[in-house]
């Protein structure tokens, strides 16, 4: 039984501001601030990102795909103070704006890649392989941002491909791989300098072959898909208890009881936040049957799976995905590299779109990340070949507003709408052409990349003095 000591007051004061508790009626405090003061709700490594300097910009006479489903021919886009201030076909350009003539050019929102490992994983350098903690299948305690190396050249390459926002995920070797981080694709000295302000965390989970092969191969659990599922269930059962312990504790504090807080557990912190829907779930999962099991499992355990990733077989259960409001994150045409990836079809993304589910294209690759516009072009063409009639304006959503929605930043980025952050790409031509290149990229209105000016092509420390700026193009 718990007794009052000075030590305990210190512990509580770390958790909840004692002064504010004293100045505010306890019941109100617990309801309004108490929830946010749960330790698992806090961001201990907050963003220090600041938008780069920008000037007012007008892009004129361009074909604009706004990411919200519209194509505007001969369109104008205005941005100022980091925000989009106007978009449309008949926009007057105020004086004093820097004008980018968009004649023959196309404009899209900055591309969002919902699935990368840039900065945390590298096949060639074991010393930079920091994304897959293969020392136990439940790694909810990990935050991938603690591995993130801002000097990875893949960031700047992705920028040259028009990628302005990305989710960096832990690897898929574990049932639960840890927290993801959402970043703005700007050069930075620190992870915090790239961290997308006010974006939520994601959680990485993985089905199927990877965890069972990794651990089964070492003679430990999970060695089978059923042990995979048992692993998730057990973890979430424990998380529910943990969450209840903390909530009980808050109630007791609220009632003025002098109680000791439950023991912190980093992994349980994250899973409890998932149960509270503060952290969204990214579930690497290939096979249709496993997708269906995971949707049931999420219901059983009381959390939501926001997106299945690498969903090679999404087209087999596209109707279930729509019904359960789960996004499918897919490639256009990569398949067959392992058994659970054998049933890939070219129409996957298009069929998911047609079923009314949320379709997303991703890279999972430093190479593909630089040409995500090409990936959606292939996927759209495959769909249209079987008569699905998908327009460019719809397809561009697969790498803009749909991932933004899944990542819960759609109020900020993902479409070109007034008051949204001015993350914008000007393409040399139709981005659905193999010959199209991102010519200018803006992040929060700042002109951060210019294909024709190497001094406006960020270069990492890693390459400095070894590679001529701009030579990678």
């Amino acid at each position: 039984m718990y007794t009052h000591t000075t030590q305990n007051i210190k512990t509580v004061s770390k958790l909840l501001s004692v002064t504010s508790l004293l100045l505010t009626p306890l019941s109100i405090q617990a309801q309004s601030d108490g929830q946010t003061l749960l330790p698992y709700k806090k961001d201990y490594y907050p963003s220090t990102y600041k938008a780069l300097a920008s000037e007012p910009v007008a892009i004129t006479n361009a074909t604009i795909l706004d990411g919200a489903g519209r194509q505007i021919d001969n369109g104008t886009l205005l941005m100022e103070d980091g925000k989009i201030t106007a978009i449309g076909a008949n926009i007057r350009v105020p004086e004093g704006m820097r004008i980018f003539d968009g004649t023959d050019k196309w404009v899209t929102p900055g591309i969002i890649d919902i699935h990368t490992h840039v900065g945390v994983s590298n096949r060639q350098h074991p010393s930079l392989s920091d994304g897959n903690e293969m020392t136990g299948p439940i790694q909810a305690r990990l935050w991938v941002e603690h591995s993130l190396w801002p000097q990875h050249p893949g960031f700047a390459r992705a920028l040259a491909g028009g990628v302005t926002t990305m989710q960096v995920l832990p690897g898929s070797g574990n049932l639960i791989g840890g927290r993801s981080i959402i970043i703005k694709n700007v050069p930075a000295r620190t992870m915090q300098g790239m961290k997308f302000p006010d974006a939520p965390y994601g959680l990485k989970m993985a089905c199927g072959e990877n965890p069972k092969r990794a651990y089964g191969g070492m003679g430990s659990a999970p060695a089978t898909r059923m042990a995979n599922v048992a692993g998730y269930r057990q973890a979430f059962i424990e998380a529910a208890e943990y969450k209840r312990d903390w909530e009980d504790y808050l109630v007791k504090i609220e009632d003025g009881e002098d109680v000791r807080p439950p023991t912190r557990d980093l992994g349980m912190d994250t899973l409890a936040a998932v149960l509270d829907d503060d952290i969204f779930v990214n579930n690497h999962c290939y096979r249709a049957d496993e997708l269906a099991v995971m949707m049931d499992l999420a219901k059983e355990m009381g959390f939501k799976i926001t997106a299945f990733h690498h969903t090679i077989e999404a087209y087999k259960v596209a109707d279930l995905l729509a019904e359960n409001d789960v996004c499918a994150v897919m490639w256009s045409d990569w398949w067959g590299y392992k058994l659970e990836a054998l049933d890939g079809v070219l129409e996957n993304i298009a069929l998911v779109e047609k079923a009314g589910a949320c379709a997303i294209a991703h890279s999972d690759s430093e190479a593909v990340m630089q040409r995500m516009n090409q990936e959606i072009a292939k996927a759209m063409a495959a769909g249209n070949r079987i008569g699905l009639n998908i327009s460019r304006a719809e397809a561009i959503r697969w790498i803009t507003s749909n991932p933004a929605r899944a990542m819960r930043i759609d109020d900020k980025v993902g479409s070109l709408e007034v008051d949204k952050q001015a993350d914008v790409v000007i393409w040399t031509t139709d981005p659905f052409s193999v010959y199209a290149l991102a010519e200018h990229v803006f992040i929060d209105g700042a002109h951060i990349y210019d294909r024709n000016d190497p001094s406006k092509q960020p270069q990492s420390d890693y390459e400095l003095g070894i590679v001529e700026r701009g030579d990678h193009q």
Binding site: N122, R123, Q124, H125, P153, G154, R157, Y315, K316, V317, A318, D319, D333, W334, W335, G336, Y337, K338, L339, A341, L342, D343, G344, V345, L346, E347, L351, A355, S365, E366, A367, V368, Q370, R371, Q374, A377, K378, M380, A381, N384, R385, I386, F432, S433, V434, Y435, A436, L437, E463, I466, V467, D471, H472, Q473
Partner: protein, 431 residues
């Protein structure tokens, strides 16, 4: 019409007539009105006809007479190219799409076998591999299928295969090249350093040549010890004599310098593979007449060996006069063989002339791999590997309407298509 063209036409027509007589039973095919990228001396013909008799092209020209009984494919508004070739794959050697996938058979390498140069993929090739119809429906009709180096600098011999429907005869050229590794991977295999790899290569070549000159003494056990086993020695002889291509993977610019020297010292027939930094040695490679098989989609040099990887590698090599061909060699992103067409388009976006990109998928590999007599251009006498595209053959949204391999039209069917058909109308699924 120019006199030259008229003369050419009459020659073509007479060839057609001869071919018709020779193969009276085979139905001829005429692909008419297409924009024809011949990849041959005729260049690109804006509106031309291609005649196919049996498994060969018999005529190509702008005003050809179409035989009455010919099956006509109207390619109005469409493009026609030779079937494309991927110059480095493990196609038909594994059941999945890429090596190392753990799916079923994997016959591209045998790390426990003890064989290096002697390894030959020919009996591992499976013409019924499920990936073959999938890849050919993307317009790929030929490929190099090659072994992967596992434990020896010499991975063994690969073949040119065609992706048609004629099992078990998918081999066009057996033992087309000996595949080897230098660079970072070679250094690793050789025990840790490039110079160890260089020594092993020199020693292997010397031993093979010595063995070749002293065969009878070898059989009597009267030769010095060799670094290779008997099968590997035997296999290395033609490559060591320069009679067969050695296709060497290497990325660093300094690796190119080594390969140029190696070629000069031993008179080898070298083709570079990967070559991420080859553009830094473009003039030297051109002077040494060393072709490069590259993946135009690599520009992140996270391996120190390829720091200067660039999307304009192809354009810069071509500008210097290096003969180039394309593959999707899988670093850093493993991908499927059909992606090579997209990668060619990417090279164009980064400065390679468009027709040169098509050449790197057709006539250039024909030249590099010694296939020019039968493949690589739409010219009379060549195998009828012909693709009709619904648009620009390099564009992402173009796809083949018709794929002919050796004169046979490939069916519009594959395991992928069957899967899609099965699930296209959910929730109705017919198992």
């Amino acid at each position: 019409m120019s006199t030259f063209k008229k003369n050419l036409l009459s020659v073509l027509v007479s060839i057609t007539a001869t071919a018709l007589l020779m193969e009276a039973n085979a139905q001829s095919i005429a692909i008419t009105n297409g924009k024809v990228y011949t990849m041959g001396s005729a260049g690109t013909l804006e509106r031309a006809t291609i005649l196919i008799e049996g498994n060969a092209i018999t005529a190509v020209g702008e005003d050809l007479v179409v035989p009455e009984d010919a099956k006509v494919i109207d390619a109005d508004g469409q493009s026609v190219t030779p079937g494309l070739m991927n110059s480095y794959t493990q196609l038909a050697l594994a059941d999945g799409s890429a090596p190392g996938n753990g799916i079923g058979d994997q016959d591209y390498g045998a790390s426990e076998s003890g064989y290096g140069a002697a390894f030959d993929i020919r009996y591992g090739l499976n013409p019924r591999a499920m990936i073959i119809p999938i890849v050919r429906l993307h317009g790929i009709t030929r490929a190099i299928s090659a072994p992967l180096a596992t434990h020896d600098l010499f991975a063994g011999y690969g073949a040119v295969i065609h992706l048609g429907e004629t099992p078990p005869d998918m081999v066009v050229t057996s033992r087309v090249a000996l595949f080897a590794d230098f660079g970072a991977r070679g250094a690793q295999i050789a025990g840790g350093a490039r110079d160890a790899a260089a020594l092993k290569i020199t020693e292997a070549i010397q031993d093979a040549l010595h063995f070749d000159r002293n065969r009878s003494r070898y059989e009597r056990g009267q030769t010095r010890d060799y670094s290779l086993n008997r099968m590997d020695l035997e296999a290395l002889v033609p490559a060591a004599k320069g009679d067969v291509i050695i296709n060497v993977a290497a990325n660093r610019a300094s690796d190119m310098r080594y390969l140029i020297e190696l070629k000069k010292q031993h008179g080898l027939n070298i083709v570079v593979r990967d070559g991420q930094e080859a553009w830094l040695m473009a003039n030297e490679l051109a002077a040494a007449q060393i072709p490069v098989v590259l993946n135009p989609g690599i520009n992140v040099g996270m391996e120190f060996s390829g720091f200067n990887a660039t999307y304009s590698n192809a354009a810069r090599l071509h500008a210097a006069g290096v003969l180039i061909a394309f593959s999707n060699v899988s670093n850093p992103h493993p991908s499927n063989p059909e992606i090579v067409r997209q990668l060619a388009g990417l090279a164009v976006a980064h400065g390679l002339p468009r027709e040169e990109a098509l050449r790197a998928l057709t006539i250039n590999p024909a030249k590099i791999w010694g296939l020019e007599e039968s493949y690589g251009s739409l010219e009379p006498g060549k195998d009828a590997d012909v693709v009709v595209w619904n648009g620009d053959p390099l564009e992402l949204m173009s796809y083949p309407q018709d794929v002919f391999i050796k004169g046979q039209r490939m069916p519009d069917d594959s395991r992928q298509i069957k899967l899609r058909n099965r699930y296209e109308n959910l929730p109705d699924v017919s198992f």
